[in-house]
Amino acid sequence: MAEIRLRNVNKRFGGVQVINDVSLDIADGEFCVFVGPSGCGKSTLLRMVAGLEEITTGELDIGGKRVTRLPPSARGVAMVFQSYALYPHMTVYDNMAFGLQLARTGKPDIDARVRRAADILALGPLLQRLPKELSGGQRQRVAIGRAIVRSPGVFLFDEPLSNLDAALRVQTRIEIAKLHASLRASMIYVTHDQVEAMTLADRIVLLNAGEAMRRDGSIAQVGRPLDLYHRPANLFVAGFIGSPGMNVLPATLAGATPERAELVLRDGTRASARVDATTLPADATVTLGIRPEHVGLAPADGTSALAGRASHVEQLGEASYLYLETPARDGFLTVRQGGDTGVAPGDAVAVTLPEAHCHVFGPDGRAVPRHLTAGPTGRPGSAGVH
């Protein structure tokens, strides 16, 4: 059993606060991803769990044991480093066996463990190679193998895919997911890539950086990937999760019932959202958020739709992105359309903002509670065109 419990954990380097008040429970066997912008301290938090960085204040338990002041080796964790951290002068076999020889493990047992890890990771033919004779993906597998042989309760991954090329990253990501399914160990995985976070995590911990970290604590939101996607707690989470990012439009609250909020956009367009904004004062300055894939194209004569003009069009084959200039916001409104689109740069385009897909954020940036008819993973169907 290796559940991980962080209680009011803080980290200061000198006078600089890098981790602010993190309390978090990671269940045994859970795959937890720390994600956030650069400088949010996600790697530092991982290294604090590993014991490579001291915890300034707060407590850390692993497997029910208080480990706050214990050295890394006494915590029952294994770590996979971004740069692989392989011993350059040792063969793949020795790299994996090195940590075991000193744990007074018998030679046949060491050999069995190394062979098993090599089987899992398809490293068998490479056991006598040196790290410099391996490709990046193979080195990463050796680093993972070195963690596996120790059969730890907790695996820690520090941006393990960031040195791999795009194709290999997808492949290794799937391998890590399979590994988690077969090993059933707790894993903490640090990445700045929200796609990795969404695809791998049982639960995502999104971390704040800078001023927000000092004000609200390091944790911006914790939840299942689709919770963060469908119910972002605030504008920062809404913007970080999802690619391209959520469109945000300044708006004024015109009316609110428990079921629906009526909004007026900057250019006078009226919109509505299935949120309960009754706690906000009337005429409050709010932000309407909608993801690019939820913006609909309106019929050409749609009088009540949001008007815009296509500035760029990106054709990706399976989808197209339209970047619209609209009086309702500065910058572009991004629209994702499946397949090809007939829209050319310069065309006038009118779009609709389906009310079931609209998010509303209060003046402080916090999300107003949404009504999702089919739960967070469902796809609410009704679309109110205004």
């Binding site: 490579l52 294994a78 002068h89 090195f98 120790r150």
Partner: protein, 314 residues
């Protein structure tokens, strides 16, 4: 251009040089000054020494030198038959072996300390260099005074702390002299070793050490199994540098103990033959054998080092 057959180009104007040719030409142009300088300051004296070693040249009249073949090497009074020469060889090898061994060990310790993070590290690093920065003649003279049997501070301190009952003649006593010379050389050359090793230590990947910490590997094991193998190439270079220096040691020994047979090195022997006894032929022969010894040791060290490096890689 390169595809044009040679036979054709001979009839016409010479083809303009290819890119590779002009690069080679430029390389020689840049190398030329150094080559000329090396021939003048190293090649010429070396050849002249080689020639003199085959003659009976005398310092008073170099022009009267006669060719005597290998007499200066293997003749009745040849270098290789002189017990003093073999004693100098023994002294030099002992000096080089012991001093380089101690300097390597101490240098490693100092480098490991300086590699650690502590306040004022850069100041200490600079301070450590002081013995190396002082010219050898100056530091040797300084040590000669400190080791002086009557007025030296070393004897004074040892006497007042009752570690010795009577003053020791550090550089005159045959049983102490070579040890004293080695001690001073260690004092002087350890910083050089330490800095070369420190440079190697700072090139080491830090993440390996973090991985070892997470895996709970004992620091001593990490040092023996990770650090030492990784710094060995740099360590070998440092040892070769110092060994070559030690084999041709002259200034330190000469200032501390002059021509004493107890500490005489091969260089001192050559100087004594050539200058004091004015036997340029014999001195040149000694210098030539010294040159050969150093060259042999270098070749040996590089070959052995390479073999071992390949052994580690294979």
């Amino acid at each position: 251009m390169a595809a044009v057959p040679v036979a054709c180009t001979q009839d016409r104007a010479p083809a303009p040089p290819t890119l590779a040719e002009s690069r080679v030409r430029a390389a020689w142009l840049f190398l030329a000054p150094l080559v000329v300088l090396m021939v003048l300051v190293a090649g010429w004296p070396l050849c002249r020494t080689l020639w003199f070693s085959l003659t009976d040249a005398d310092l008073k009249d170099l022009g009267a030198a006669r060719f005597v073949g290998l007499d200066n090497y293997t003749g009745e009074f040849g270098v290789l038959r002189d017990p003093d020469w073999w004693r100098a060889v023994g002294n030099t090898l002992l000096f080089a072996g012991v001093s380089v061994a101690i300097e390597t060990l101490l240098g490693l310790v100092v480098a490991l300390v300086l590699d650690a993070d502590f306040p004022g590290r850069s100041v200490v690093r600079a301070a450590v260099l002081v013995p190396w920065a002082i010219p050898t003649v100056v530091s040797a003279k300084m040590w000669a005074w400190m080791l002086n049997d009557q007025f030296g501070v070393i004897n004074h301190v040892l006497m007042t702390t009752h570690l010795i009952s009577q003053p020791l003649a550090w550089v005159a006593d045959p049983s102490l002299a070579l040890g004293s010379v080695i001690a001073v050389d260690v004092w002087k050359a350890t910083p050089f070793m330490a800095l070369l090793i420190l440079a190697a230590l700072q090139m080491l990947p830090t993440d390996c050490y973090e991985a070892a910490r997470v895996d709970g590997i004992h620091p001593v094991t990490v040092f023996v199994r990770v650090t030492l193998p990784l710094i060995r190439p740099a360590l070998m270079v440092a040892v070769i540098f110092r060994a070559l220096d030690a084999l041709r040691v002259f200034d330190l020994v000469y200032v501390l103990t002059s021509n004493s047979r107890d500490t005489m090195s091969m260089s001192i022997y050559a100087r004594q033959q050539l200058v004091d006894f004015q036997q340029v032929g014999l001195g040149s022969a000694a210098a030539t054998v010294l040159f050969g010894t150093v060259a042999l040791c270098t070749a040996l060290a590089i070959t052995l080092g390479r073999v071992r490096l390949e052994g580690a890689a294979g």
